[in-house]
């Protein structure tokens, strides 16, 4: 009897330490990938605006870009606050984001909107799954982070709807285009979580 309780306690202690470690790793991973994502989004809108700045959709893109700038700013602060490690691939996302934005905008404003729809759909899903992970881990401890991510998810889904309103579906090869971008985004998310 005594020996079993003695055995159980070390196990519980270890599992608590393991849980704390897991929780910290989860937050680290989430902040890293979201920071990378917001940087990418920021660069995408910048790229779109560089091409479409003087067209009718210019102000719409500008407005969405302003949102993304706030998001990026917030995650910049969160990285320092939580001492999370930024991803190694930042320079790549920096270039890739701009290229994606400018490239899609070169297909016309519908192309740019289709790109927005694809990216924001993936990001919205991704934020949702992060909210689930955090809720599962410890909703009270991550309250602040949850609030931020929920707010950002709503913003991103709003961008998604804005894209649809502005004729995203009339883009050339809409289905193929969005699928390719979605797969690219998912790959980027996967690898940014890791390194």
């Amino acid at each position: 009897m005594a020996s079993t309780s003695l055995l159980r306690i070390p196990c519980r202690h270890m599992s608590q330490m393991a849980r704390q470690k897991r929780s910290r790793e989860l937050v680290d991973k989430i902040i890293r990938v979201d920071h990378a994502g917001e940087l990418g989004a920021d660069r995408i809108y910048q790229g779109q605006l560089a091409v479409l700045g003087n067209t009718s959709v210019g102000p719409v893109i500008k407005e969405m870009w302003e949102d993304e700038k706030i998001h990026l700013e917030t995650f910049n602060k969160l990285i320092v606050q939580h001492r999370a490690r930024p991803t190694v691939l930042l320079p790549i996302w920096n270039v890739a984001g701009f290229a994606l934005g400018a490239g899609s905008a070169l297909l016309g404003k519908e192309g740019a909107m289709a790109c927005t729809v694809a990216v924001e759909a993936v990001i919205g899903d991704h934020y949702n799954s992060q909210i689930r992970d955090l809720m599962e881990d410890d909703p009270e401890k991550h309250e602040e982070l949850l609030k931020i991510i929920k707010k950002f998810r709503d913003d991103e889904l709003h961008h998604h709807d804005t894209g649809l309103e502005h004729d995203a579906e009339k883009a050339p090869f809409y289905q193929a285009l969005t699928q390719v971008i979605k797969i690219g985004c998912k790959g980027a998310i996967w690898i940014s979580e890791k390194i």
Binding site: S3, L6, P10, H13, M14, N76, I79, V80, L90
Partner: protein, 260 residues
Amino acid sequence: MLINKDLRCSRLNGQNIRLTQIVSRNCSTSDKSTSETSTEETEYETKERILRASLPFVYQHGWTNKAITSGAEKEGLPGVAHGMFPRGGAELVFFFYRECNQQLVKQMKKQTENVEEKPKTGEFIKNSVESRLRMIIPYMEKWPQAMAIQTMPQNAIESWTNLGRLMDEIWFYAGDQSVDFNWYTKRASLAGVYKSTEIYMLQDRSENYENTWQFLDRRLKDLTTFGKVTRNVKQSGTVASEGLYGLGIMAKNMCRMNSR
């Protein structure tokens, strides 16, 4: 006696659970009087206790199983307790490394918390690296062995993590706010300085390691000059790209492609 111990050791080795059971039961009887929680000493804490007691034996036995055995015996635990440490001396080295890091963190916290004026970054980093390296001095004679243990392939990952964590702590308390690729360059370059100074220190015979601190000073100066040069290159890079952008606009105008 020794043979007997070895026999017990080989019988118990690999049966860490049973050994923990013995050790923790041993602890629980010895600490019973203190309080309810301390009677239930955990495996983790027992390990820490043994390793802490083993450090004084490093002078004699080096970073080895032998030192751990002596430490365990000093703590009143069976000498076979070193079976709890499958990696032997390496665990002792890592324990020492972690302990020193924690000590440095405490020290840096004190320096940065509740002070009106933040210490200068360069000076703060130099002082932190120096005080961290000074923690090795008592073990200098056996430190080459520890460094060799750390470079062994099976230990390399943990050594790098430890070094990385140390650099992260120093930069964090120095007030680093970088969120871009600089995060990596800063930590990597400081790690280079730290490691090279550590190696320099091994052969330094000057009094109070004066030469080492001068060496450290020079390396850190190199780093700041390097930083300045890269910043200049970056600046001229942006100037060049703006120039190219201007050329692009001019070409567009010449081709009458300007929509404005």
